[in-house]
């Protein structure tokens, strides 16, 4: 059973971690959420019959994050000065092929976008991340976020519009 779980579910660990990272406050909380989610997944794996282990795992991760106190709700709760909102650490992102200035600029771009994404209300942020980063279909996102497809579509549109506006506001300043 653990071999099957490993083959079916663990390939999606990065996706699980990525989603948790976008939903929760800092790397320590993220690891707690992912570990807890995997534990739940093991427990329920016996009854898992679906064809889509990734969406299934992500749904568990999302529920676990929502139950955790570390959930970043966005809009009101983030954006406080000096708060670490899940911006990536430098060694994780710097490509060794880049020269230092390029690498620094890339890092700044990543940090800025992480900050703007973290400021989105959580239900818009998760929809956007699942679509644009995890490349999931509307149907899969609807399953994971337990919302009708119509809601997914309007959230996605609002998320994109808000993010574009925030980017423009920063660049225009």
């Amino acid at each position: 059973m653990s071999a099957e779980f490993e083959a079916v579910v663990l390939p999606h660990l990065d996706a699980a971690y990525n989603l948790a990272r976008y939903l929760t406050r800092n790397p320590t909380d993220v690891e707690d959420v992912v570990q807890e989610a995997v534990l739940r997944a093991v427990t329920y794996f016996g009854s898992f019959r679906g064809a889509n282990p990734r969406a299934w795992l992500l749904q568990i991760v999302r529920n676990t994050a929502y139950a955790s106190r570390a959930l970043v709700r966005g809009a009101v709760t983030v954006g406080l000065p000096g708060e670490e909102t899940g911006a990536p650490t430098a060694p994780e992102l710097i490509d060794h092929g880049d020269n230092p200035e390029m690498a620094l600029r890339k890092h700044e771009d990543h940090a800025r976008l992480a900050r703007l994404l973290a400021a989105l209300p959580v239900e818009l942020r998760e929809t956007l991340v699942l679509r644009e980063i995890e490349e999931l279909s509307y149907k899969e996102i609807a399953e994971i976020t337990q919302a009708p497809i119509g809601t997914v579509m309007s959230r996605l549109w609002r998320a994109r519009r808000l993010l574009a506006a925030a980017v423009q506001a920063e660049e225009g300043r």
Binding site: L13, Y22, E31, E92, R160
Partner: protein, 250 residues
């Protein structure tokens, strides 16, 4: 001013419409300036996120802790880590799309029991290849480096083609063991995804057959005395495009 058709246009952008609906959305954009602007904005936001949104990877310590928790012993701990760039390839690929909703909906052509067993082996091998240190034995984007590497390692010469021009760059090759024999595995990238193309001598049908297993898509065909199995977490349509391009390449 926002058009009431904006969600239709967004769905077109996201590739969620069937051909008839997509045509309707595209025609609408020709007459609606607001939706044309919105479409351009969607592309710009998409490009920005693709370029700059952090894609977080599970730290090795977490992976180890979870494996230990599952009581699974893997040789990953002792394996030498592959070079940085390729390590990122498999990590990205492990985290990206499997298009299983699509996979579940594609027609499964009749695959016979012997092929079922190979299908299991091929998918298992693909998953194993995604583990640290298992992806590639020869790292090269040059087909003239990869092809000779197989000389003397296997008793046949696998056809090696680079499809970088078609957005499927060759990343390297690997020796694998499938169907009770050593086989060649060619590794291709597609955006953030990986494709393993397994090759060994055989004579099946030239008509490609598609199948899905555990969320991975596969395409199997035969040509010029070789059996081919392509496996990836790419969505089925994209993997079919890879196979089409690969077979068309000289």
């Amino acid at each position: 001013m926002e058009c009431e058709n904006i969600l239709l246009v967004q769905a077109e952008f996201d590739g969620e419409l069937d051909a008839a609906e997509a045509l309707r959305a595209a025609q609408h954009r020709q007459t609606c300036a607001a939706c044309r602007d919105a479409y351009a904005q969607l592309s710009a936001t998409h490009a920005l996120l693709r370029e700059s949104a952090p894609r977080h990877q599970a730290p090795e310590s977490l992976r180890r802790a979870i494996r230990a928790g599952l009581n699974v012993t893997r040789d990953a701990a002792t394996a030498t880590p592959p070079p940085r760039t390729l390590r990122r390839w498999w990590r990205d690929s492990a985290s990206f799309g499997l298009g299983a909703a699509l996979a579940a909906s594609i027609a499964l052509f009749a695959i016979n029991p012997a092929q079922q067993s190979i299908l299991d082996q091929v998918v298992a091998s693909h998953v194993r290849a995604l583990q640290p240190g298992h992806l590639e034995d020869v790292i090269s984007t040059d087909q003239h480096t990869v092809k000779p590497w197989f000389d003397g390692r296997i008793d046949f010469a696998p056809p090696v083609k680079d499809l970088a021009a078609k957005q499927f760059p060759l990343l390297g090759g690997r020796l694998d063991y499938l169907n009770d024999r050593p086989v060649a595995a060619l590794i291709y990238g597609s955006d953030k995804h990986l494709i393993n193309l397994y090759v060994w001598p055989g004579s099946g049908e030239p008509l490609p057959k598609t199948a899905a297993r555990n969320g991975y898509n596969t395409v199997h065909w035969s040509e010029n005395g070789m059996d081919f199995w392509a496996v990836s977490d790419l969505e089925a349509a994209k993997l079919n495009a890879f196979v089409r391009d690969w077979r068309a390449a000289g």
